[in-house]
């Protein structure tokens, strides 16, 4: 277990190194410099002074190792645009993305797993075919289009839900208002992942149903409902947890797009603003924090899988 954690952490650090190197290298290779330096009122000497102060006159490799050295010590530098520490800027936006992605993940699991199990309970039935078909459609729908359509139906025509934003401007922010704003983006973000969880749960449950211990449970006279939820479900969950770990990276990418459609003030939009302004420290900080979040969450998923499996837990 300890060895597993150490290896998993090593892998996670390698992922972060890979992401930060690729982002930094492409940022340096990209045309155009920081928007901070594009101000036409700056004289040549002033511009040079700013470049020296920010270390932008150094070669890219020096800048990268310097950034890496600071990042290891927990210092992600100050944002060019906001003139505050990158971490402070991020900490204002991060909770919004965590809220959106977390709610979507809960919906994915809370809806996907029961649907998958109930579809597997009677293979070939009307319900099974309905669930399979709907999940096929949900996997094929572009998330941003689903977002547009849901804004059209629920916000424009039915006027039941807000079209965007995280809270109503100017109002005293109540819980109900937050939930109303969260509902559409979270559902849209959850759709594709939920469909995938349905498919995996269904196929894992069907594989489990064929195993001898299920026949043994049936032979003992346990009702088929109880067999499904108490015997098949825990066994099928083992492989489903694995899928969740693989879905996390896509959930974060999907969150960035959903944030754009619903004007949700989260990390995705912050990242794009930073990238547009060539705010090097902020871009690097956003990338690092988002990737670290994904890495940590997938380690948690892996550890959960281990803890859930009594065969591995025993060793």
């Amino acid at each position: 277990m300890i060895l597993f954690l150490v290896r998993r952490l090593g892998h996670g650090l390698f992922v972060l190194l890979l992401v930060s190197t690729v982002t930094f290298a492409s940022m340096m290779a990209a045309p155009g410099g920081p928007s901070l330096l594009a101000d036409p009122k700056l004289s040549v000497t002033e511009r040079a002074a700013i470049e020296t102060r920010l270390g932008l006159d150094q070669p890219a490799t020096v800048q990268y190792t310097r950034w890496l050295g600071r990042a290891v010590r927990g210092d992600l530098g100050a944002s060019f645009l906001y003139q505050t520490s990158s971490l402070a800027t991020i900490s204002a936006r991060l909770p919004q993305t965590l809220l959106l992605a977390g709610t979507a993940l809960l919906l994915t699991l809370g809806v996907g797993i029961p649907l998958g199990i109930s579809a597997a309970a009677r293979p070939g039935s009307f319900w099974d075919r309905f669930v399979t078909l709907s999940s096929g459609i949900a996997l094929a729908v572009p998330a941003f289009w689903l977002g547009l359509m849901s804004i059209l139906v629920f916000a424009v025509w039915a006027r039941a839900l807000p079209a965007g934003g995280a809270v109503t401007e100017g109002d005293v922010v109540g819980l109900a208002d937050r939930v109303r704003h969260l509902l559409l983006p979270a559902l849209v973000l959850a759709a594709a992942g939920c469909a995938e969880v349905v498919r995996y749960t269904r196929s894992a449950a069907r594989t489990t149903l064929a195993l001898p211990f299920i026949q043994a449970a049936r032979a003992r006279g346990i009702s088929s409902r109880r067999v499904m939820w108490r015997h098949v479900l825990p066994h099928a969950l083992l492989s489903v947890v694995n899928v969740i770990g693989l879905q996390l990276p896509r959930l974060v990418g999907g969150a960035a797009i959903t944030e754009t459609v619903f004007s949700w003030p989260g990390m995705g939009r912050l990242g794009v603003e930073a990238a547009l302004g060539r705010d090097y420290p902020l871009v690097m900080a956003v990338t690092l924090v988002v990737s670290a979040g994904v890495v940590i969450a997938s380690i948690v998923a892996d550890v959960t899988q281990l803890l859930m499996d009594p065969r591995i837990r025993a060793t």
Binding site: S26, A29, F144, M149, L152, P249, I257
Partner: protein, 272 residues
């Protein structure tokens, strides 16, 4: 038995429908613009956002351009970009998987750790940022999709090759003294073709979805060229006034991806 037959029948029925839909879409993209000869770029501000008429069968968009002509032009762009991006991703994945599976040892270990790492990266998030600095173009879009979608193909190709290495016919070729490269090219690579085809059928829909999402964000195909994704980007602004502009491109993406997924699932099932 009867149930089994019924399931088999519905499956072929659905797959046939999917093949038919895909063929119609491809024919639309290939000969559509030649048959329906209305220019997709001509703007006419006197007929902005009108509904279906005799001259404009699906109406016009927010700049008075013919919607049907734009959908047909967009079909060409979206399907081509999806296909090319898939070829890049599957090609890269096959190359990496082949090297890893054939070389084994530390080369395999390094490449597979790299694959695992690439799978754990929030790729779409990073691609959005990178395309924002790089400036949007079809070329950077293709590179971005290719660079972030090769991992599935690499894994299955490597797995397949490692299995093949132990097969009697490969051992026989080795015993006969065939050079390693010959064994690879003549004996092993032909056997992985079906695996690569399945990987490709999985790759096309995800490439089309990614192209549409990135073009929607303004990071892919640039206006005035039409792609289904960037048409939706324009439509977003006029969602309340001309909602149908947002309807058609999305439905076409949905139909394309659904058909390719259905065919891909059938291929995968057929291989067991």
């Amino acid at each position: 038995m009867i149930v089994g037959n019924a399931v088999a029948r519905t499956r072929t029925w659905r797959v046939n429908l999917a093949v038919l839909t895909l063929l119609v879409l491809i024919v639309m993209a290939v000969i559509g613009p030649a048959v329906y000869r209305v220019d997709p770029h001509t703007m006419d501000l006197s007929i902005v956002g009108i509904g279906p008429t005799a001259i404009h069968p699906l109406g016009t968009d927010e700049s008075g351009r013919d919607l049907l002509a734009r959908l047909l032009a967009g079909a060409r762009v979206s399907l081509t970009v999806g296909l090319l991006a898939m070829v890049l991703a599957v090609g890269l994945g096959t190359a990496i998987g082949t090297v890893a599976g054939f070389a084994g040892g530390w080369v395999d270990a390094v490449l597979m750790r790299l694959t695992d790492a690439a799978l754990a990266v929030p790729a779409l998030f990073v691609v959005i940022l990178v395309l924002t600095f790089m400036g949007p173009s079809v070329f950077t879009l293709l590179c971005a999709i290719g660079a972030t979608s090769w991992m599935g193909a690499a894994r299955v190709v490597r797995g397949e090759l490692r299995m093949l290495r132990e097969q009697p016919f490969v051992e026989a070729a080795r015993a006969l003294g065939a050079p390693r490269l010959t064994i690879m090219m003549r004996h092993m690579l032909p056997s992985i073709v079906p695996t690569v085809l399945v990987a490709a059928s999985v790759g096309v829909p995800s490439a089309i979805l990614m192209e549409s999402a990135l073009s929607f964000l303004g990071l892919g195909v640039q206006p005035p060229a039409a792609s289904w994704g960037n048409m939706l980007s324009g439509a977003q602004t006029y969602l309340t006034s001309y909602p149908w502009l947002a309807l058609y491109p999305g439905l076409l993406i949905l139909l394309t991806v659904l058909s390719v997924n259905t065919i891909g699932d059938a291929l995968q099932n057929a291989r067991g």
